[in-house]
């Protein structure tokens, strides 16, 4: 049963991942990424991390990726040539690149399989192993500093983002200055 669920979501995420990378239209890529993220969240649940899985959907799929979509639409990057994908030149470089990529992919995959072959025995999940409370305790005791730093990082990121993306000398700003 679990294996079937795993297989379903693993397949889903692999296929979607390929779409993310391969699709010419950025909107489809982004939507596929959402699928990858949600199926990963399902796998997280299988791995006994429901809280992280929920957060993955809430934060990652629900907020961060929406931001991507938002920007894609704002700049209208989906269909336009702005991404440059449409005019990609075809040449020998592409061929060699493909061969190299495939080689690296296959080789690394083989190496991975070879190295990870043979299963590790897992303890069955216990209720307390899944609980959220110990996680919170850990986060707010041992890792409180990291938590605070992350909070600061987010603040800095927000400020930086709003400064960078601001339209310099825009009409609205000039007006606001006049008013102020």
């Amino acid at each position: 049963m679990q294996l079937a669920v795993f297989a379903l979501f693993a397949l889903l995420s692999l296929v979607s991942a390929v779409v993310v990378v391969a699709h010419k239209n950025a909107v489809y890529s982004t939507m596929s990424l959402v699928v990858v993220l949600v199926s990963s969240a399902a796998l997280f649940v299988l791995l006994g991390a429901p809280f992280i899985a929920t957060l993955q959907v809430l934060v990652y799929a629900g907020a961060i990726v929406v931001l991507f979509l938002f920007v894609i639409m704002l700049l209208n990057l989906g269909r336009e040539n702005a991404t440059g994908e449409a005019e990609a030149p075809r040449g020998s470089g592409q061929k060699w690149g493909t061969i190299l990529g495939a080689g690296v992919f296959a080789g690394t995959l083989l190496a991975l399989i070879w190295r990870t072959y043979g299963s590790d025995s897992l303890e069955p999940l216990q209720a307390e192993a899944v609980a959220t409370k110990p996680l919170a305790t850990l986060l707010f005791s041992n890792y409180i500093l990291a938590f605070e730093v992350i909070g600061l990082l987010l603040l800095v990121a927000v400020v930086a983002a709003s400064v960078v993306a601001r339209r310099v000398g825009s009409a609205g700003e000039a007006e606001a200055e006049k008013e102020g």
Binding site: Q2, L3, F6, A10, S13, L14, A17, V20, V21, A26, T30, V36, L37, S40, L43, F44, L47, G48, A49, F51, I52, L55, Q56, V59, Y60, A63, I64, L67, F68, V71, L74, L75, A82, T83, G84, E85, G101, V104, T108, L109, L112, G118, S119, D120, L122, A129, P134, L135, Y143, A146, I150, L153, L154, V156, A157, A160, S162, V164, A165, R167
Partner: protein, 100 residues
């Protein structure tokens, strides 16, 4: 029970797909998405090991990774907007002002 190696294998494959995407695509947004893919595969690995070792730190690190990804997305996308405003493209092949 699903062996932990399956998860690791899946994560590895996702990571490679993401890497190839980041290396081969020209659109800044797609590269960004590929990087998110890589991050996600790392998250999967972390959770898997957290499960294997019975250590919650893995989950915590995933939390932090998410926060960092959020920050990164915010700043990165803002940069894209700024770049697009100046150059009217986010084709990374054309963003080569630093070229000698």
């Amino acid at each position: 029970m699903v062996p932990i190696s399956y998860y690791l294998l899946l994560a590895g494959m996702l990571f490679i797909i993401g890497t190839l995407g980041a290396l081969t695509r020209r659109s800044g947004i797609t590269i960004f998405l590929s990087i998110e893919l890589m991050l996600n595969s790392v998250n999967l690995t972390l959770i898997a090991y957290s499960r294997l070792l019975g250590d919650r730190m893995g989950q915590l690190i995933v939390l932090f990774v998410m926060a960092v990804a959020a920050a990164e997305a915010a700043v990165g996308l803002a940069l894209f907007i700024a770049i697009y405003r100046h150059r009217h493209t986010i084709d990374l092949n054309r963003l080569n002002l630093m070229r000698w």
